[in-house]
Subunit: 326 residues, 2 copies
């Protein structure tokens, strides 16, 4: 069976790390068909559209999508692409790697971020010269879908339930609905949960990240708190993410376009390659996914390393080393 993979490198180092990820995928004994498409600042400059219709359609029909990075146009690209693949959950692991400088090396978290609504539903108005509004939307159905996913996600020996993070003491109706629905679903599944306010989470994750494991939260909370966790593990450089829907999914490194080093062939491909491992796992190839992750971890530990990790290897050197270790 051939898996059609949409490949959208985007801007900056997206152009370098995305091919690295597809090189790794090609080294596996799985049948992929890669179809490349444009998105981002460069195509906007050329055509006026940051996300051409064909790219949206491709992501909406491919089995899975690999995305690189976009610059100024990031929101115009990534938000519609999440919608194209019907993603309801954004999976954001944040774990420190051995040998990599981290503020909190004991951090090992996974954020399951609601991926369709909250402030991202984005109904905004300028009511008067003085007053603007944004309607934040929280539905029981989206909260339930996320919670069901979370319950399945933690149904392994590795996890004991999850933590619900919210701000229901202020957003009583909306985050209240989120919290109550997620807790109710967890109850139905027999999954243990605890809950923490999002501001308190921000303090406690710095003081003692080991008290948390899987975190289930609304869209913007997930955006900010997973980036906080990225800071604790030493930066966005190594973090992968998955935007998962019922029929398809999109995988992207959490880092941006890194304009300062773009074009030099020295970008660290690790996050893109780990994102590709998440893609492989999503398609059902657990062993191959584990093999990629182990090869990346060994390479992070033993080298070669790119400049961001104190080495002088090229993107290609690191990619070749990962493939060698598969």
């Amino acid at each position: 069976m051939t898996h059609e993979i949409a490949v959208i490198p985007g801007d900056g180092i997206g152009q370098e790390v995305t091919p690295a990820a597809t090189d790794v995928l090609e080294a596996l004994d799985i049948d992929f068909e890669f179809v490349e498409a444009d998105a981002g600042d460069a195509v906007k400059e050329a055509t006026g559209e940051a996300l051409p219709e064909e790219t949206y359609e491709l992501a909406a029909s491919a089995d899975a999508t690999l995305f690189g990075a976009a610059g100024e146009t990031a929101a115009d690209v990534i938000l519609p692409l999440r919608d194209a693949v019907g993603s309801f959950v954004n999976i954001r692991p944040a774990k420190a790697y051995p040998g990599i400088d981290a503020v909190r090396p004991e951090t090992d978290l996974v954020f399951l971020r609601e991926n369709t609504e909250g402030v991202y539903a984005g109904h905004e108005d300028r009511l008067t010269e003085d007053v603007s509004t944004l309607t934040r939307v929280v539905t029981e159905s989206a909260s339930r879908e996320l919670a069901e996913f979370a319950c399945d996600y933690v149904d392994t020996d590795e996890h004991d339930g999850f933590t619900i993070v919210h701000k229901a003491n202020v957003m009583r109706e909306t985050d209240g609905l989120f919290r109550d629905t997620v807790a109710e679903v967890a109850d139905e599944y027999g999954v243990e949960t605890d809950e923490v306010l999002m501001d308190a989470f921000a303090t406690h994750v710095c003081l003692d990240p080991e008290q948390f494991d899987v975190v289930v939260c609304p869209n913007l909370a997930g955006d900010v708190l997973s980036d906080l966790a990225a800071g604790l593990v030493g930066g966005l450089g190594l973090l992968p993410s998955a935007n998962v829907g019922t029929e398809r999914a999109l995988f992207e490194p959490v880092h941006g376009t890194a304009p300062d080093i773009a074009g030099e062939g020295v970008a660290n491909p690790a996050a893109a390659i780990i994102s590709a491992a998440m893609l492989v796992e999503y398609l059902g190839y657990d062993e191959e996914a584990a093999a990629i992750n182990e090869a990346v971890e060994a390479t992070l530990e033993e080298g070669p390393r790119t400049a961001d990790l104190g080495g002088d290897a090229s993107t290609e050197d690191v990619t070749a080393a990962v493939i060698d270790r598969l």
Copy 2:
């Protein structure tokens, strides 16, 4: 001239650290008249009201208010009290103290948090069984008032402008209005600003807190990011805050009620005492405020210390030591 100070100890260790703060104030050569009032879980249990009308009225008429902490009812108490004093800005310094364990000892930040609107404006609805909404409100006038305050705040040798933190790539109209208004006011005042997205701020403040100084942001962003900074400096225990309006203001330690140690007389009064120093400064007594801050810093460094800092002194011991050093 006598300054009428509303004193609202609230629940838990609020009952212990607030008297410590008034003891310090009484040791100054300033004429205070303290008027005590109830708020919080205990008064709710007794009367059904977490914030009795008299308490609100007192805060709304006193020259300044000292608040301790509230438990479960925190939001029902503190949000109306901020309104009672007409507070438009929440000032939250987050600085690491010498000799105190911190994740990032080089952290020295001040958050100027918008204190009236954003998601806290709180218009919520349950539109259908499935759908709930919250209307987030951002006004040009509140953004302008905050920005003018911020421009005055940084008008000292200590500061070079401020950083505007927002999420205008997603909340384009509302956070766009916030960002544009604040930047415009800063321009009028000749104050330098830069801007960072709130998720990127969360990463970067962990990696390198020294790149930031004064941060100006919307209400919820300030709530979460100042608590993140609290984590970086070692917890909420030592952090003061001020809710400032044009005619009056309310001062509170950022910590909570600490039910685990409440009633034992061992709570650390430092945050409440530093909050009292902010009150004294607000009333125009800069030298006295500096004296309190120096006395607290010396006590933190040389002791006596409460249990949270590894010592075995009581709240009273620490308070007496601060007063001795005035």
